[in-house]
Symmetry: none
Amino acid sequence: MKSAFRSAISTALAFSFRSLNPTSHRPSLTLLRPYAAVFFSKHSPLTSMAGGESGTHVPSLATFQSLEKQFEEFRHQLEDSGSLRERIRSVALEIESATRLMHSSLLLIHQSRPVPEVLETAKGKIDLLRELFSKLAEIMRECPGQYYRYHGDWKSETQTVVSLLAFMHWLETGSLLLHTEAEEKLGLNPDEFGLDVEDYLIGICFMSNDLPRYVVNQVTAGDYDCPRKVLKFLTDLHAAFRMLNLRNDFLRKKFDGMKYDLRRVEEVHYDVKIRGLAANGEKTGEQNDQAQS
Amino acid sequence: MKSAFRSAISTALAFSFRSLNPTSHRPSLTLLRPYAAVFFSKHSPLTSMAGGESGTHVPSLATFQSLEKQFEEFRHQLEDSGSLRERIRSVALEIESATRLMHSSLLLIHQSRPVPEVLETAKGKIDLLRELFSKLAEIMRECPGQYYRYHGDWKSETQTVVSLLAFMHWLETGSLLLHTEAEEKLGLNPDEFGLDVEDYLIGICFMSNDLPRYVVNQVTAGDYDCPRKVLKFLTDLHAAFRMLNLRNDFLRKKFDGMKYDLRRVEEVHYDVKIRGLAANGEKTGEQNDQAQS
Amino acid sequence: MKSAFRSAISTALAFSFRSLNPTSHRPSLTLLRPYAAVFFSKHSPLTSMAGGESGTHVPSLATFQSLEKQFEEFRHQLEDSGSLRERIRSVALEIESATRLMHSSLLLIHQSRPVPEVLETAKGKIDLLRELFSKLAEIMRECPGQYYRYHGDWKSETQTVVSLLAFMHWLETGSLLLHTEAEEKLGLNPDEFGLDVEDYLIGICFMSNDLPRYVVNQVTAGDYDCPRKVLKFLTDLHAAFRMLNLRNDFLRKKFDGMKYDLRRVEEVHYDVKIRGLAANGEKTGEQNDQAQS
Amino acid sequence: MKSAFRSAISTALAFSFRSLNPTSHRPSLTLLRPYAAVFFSKHSPLTSMAGGESGTHVPSLATFQSLEKQFEEFRHQLEDSGSLRERIRSVALEIESATRLMHSSLLLIHQSRPVPEVLETAKGKIDLLRELFSKLAEIMRECPGQYYRYHGDWKSETQTVVSLLAFMHWLETGSLLLHTEAEEKLGLNPDEFGLDVEDYLIGICFMSNDLPRYVVNQVTAGDYDCPRKVLKFLTDLHAAFRMLNLRNDFLRKKFDGMKYDLRRVEEVHYDVKIRGLAANGEKTGEQNDQAQS
């Protein structure tokens, strides 16, 4: 009986880390030791209940205790993953509010405030984002191999982050923020907590959705060269996306939207060209270029 | 060209390894390092900044090529994960059809065929299931730490498998098939490809849904002791589930259904008792018990 | 009989006061105390226990009477809160019809009637609104601490009122009607019956929904400066809203809509600018400005 | 200007407490002082933006700052009520898990375990519930007059609590737990944080839903007198509810359900009577009575 008891404990321990994390290699025994004691305490209604019955053909006391033990373990596991989820969610919320502030300062670009000024404020938040993502990475370090188990809890926030960083990067350099560059900016170590490629691509689509509005407002403000530049960028981006064989999912839908962004920018470019504004727009264009470089 | 081609390949591989698998620890670093070196020299912000310095703000050829290269890599990755998914799906479909056959033979129990005969046919499929799950494990071995990325592609099939195995186990032993026992039956090695706890629990709920029908048919066939046994089993199971703090999701919904199974069985037990049938039911009961022990 | 009647009344009042209003501080305690005394002497667990002591387990007459008395009290309370609700609803309906008239006269603005004339008619209704809101405040005075219990019965009407007042205020001053200004206009005393912040914010969103149409019609009527002014206003407003961390509810949805109002106005502004119409629009612009200042 | 500044502060302060709590009498000034400083700091993008413009007919810098100030206040208020909500939710969750354990031990009654034993375990949780409800009351003390603003965040948990307490009370005394008795059991002081009458009534309906199942299982266990007792209780309860004029809402729907509970119990009573079991059931009945007294 005693040995049975011991093996029961080890089973319990082995079991819990395994099924909390079917793919991890290091069990979180430290987490589990305390529970083991609990498993065999007679506190719960179930044991007494089983004790009551006898001479029946239903599960013996032994099998019943194993049932109880198993669910006791599940209870702890579900609590663990539940609290883990809460911690993730709270970080995700902080990310969300950081990006919200970032976004509101970036919105000033639509009132054609000088690019450097706008970027400065927005960049101020990047360090905070790095910090928050390193918090996420830290949490995930506790449960290796579970990245995609909890991925759903931070992905949409991450997609927004990518869209903002990519827009800022485009304003600065006129080129696309690459996946690896995004990871660098966020201080992500791809070997332990990387930026999911689909999240990156969706974020890029979100950025593209903001470009038509940007173009319209730039033209209104007299930057008649902007449509040409954005058009070139969006055309390349759209072409690049077309290389991808997207399954019929959210990313696909987002990408389809990019087509309309492209069209709208083409129309604005057309308006500017047909009115011969592109020419006398150069000056403002360059002016604006200085702002950008 | 040839070398470019080669490096493109290795690039693709390296890249897909990394971002296909942001959380794996060992794999592909060797592949990665050299690649990384190349990568950052070419596409670091600096380069793109350079694009900014030159008067024009259309991405330079260099930046454009990096854009193209990145999407070329993504293309490979999405194709890789796409074909991976197809392989998973095809195995999942085989699992599904195996369980369908298993289920149809188990249905004979409702015509009160002798338990051993019914079980024999169903058990015949278990080896096939073991084989199929080891195929899944093999596929997952190619992308460590991705279990939960593709989990959605096999989970519902797995839940059905659990429900059938648990029902068979109950017929044989009168007790609940434990999570570890289920893993053993399917030949799963929890350290590399385990049985997700929620899939197990949902499978158990599915099994519970079949019990009221079973009880009704057993009573019809004259086994008046069956309700008592099933009731005891379901009551313990229900109580055990109540220990769990289920978030309000699919599992929760399934569990809520178990309450109705329980009530239905209680009603049948009530009918049998109030008519004083339980007594002359003993013989069949024992008979059936022998089948079970 | 008469005294029984009287005590029944006071009981009803006392009780409804307390549990109609679990959080109020002063009211009805004097009424309550004596009643409470009576109450507990009669229905304390002890009494019902007594029911338990006597062999039968059907509630004793005593316990049954306490049951009956309690539901008698509930009947009064539900009738009280029911009739209260009806009174609130009828005032809310009056508010609704007053705002409907107000709205229809404001609609003339879209036919570019002179602002002062349009405002004059609409303002005519404000006194009525003040009156109706003071009626609401009066009703609420009867049940302190219940503002949010019945809030749902007047909130949507109040949101419409805010949207109209804010639109009128903008036409007059070109600036946003502040929360405190709205309370003043409606003669609300925030210490007893204030304007809920979310109702105010939702009302402001409603107003924003009307601006694109207004801009389109003003431009049609030759006021080419209008888009610029509305755009500036909406941009500031949108930026201000972005400071808020809105939970994902109705207000959030309304605010998301504001983005489209903003874009639509930007498009109109763009059309005017690109056609160089802004220039010869100044005169009408100023004219209109006089109307506003 | 200076005085304007001062009055602006006081406005801000007055404003916030007012609209955070339109009906409270004591402002939470302490909460607000710190913010006041913030209002006038030039940190936010908005101010700089406003500063940029001049000579336009859109809101003056002054009006713009008031806009910004107001939304700054709203931001704090929404954060305050948001965090308040979180605290409430976390207590509500604790209540939920306490009741879950309570419920699982009460479920043993359906396996006709001796009443005192079952009650003992369940009662063990009541002190915890008192504690948790006093936590809620404490939180609400911070915002007098807001009981019904946040009521939705704890009501369903409270309804479950009532249903369990009422069931336990019925098992002990055979009579209905009164509203005041429920408040006492939970240590609620009705003058500051009472038990909403509708929550109480809904809880009672929930309890009624469990009675048919209880009766069925008691009869199965040989207590043939149980149906009579439950039927008497449910009939009185149903009659009492019928006195109430229920609006067509959730409570109404729950009450309609009670009709089916009543019918089911009548059927069981009929089964027992028609089989002449009631008679030879007395012994078990009394036996059970001893268990109850």
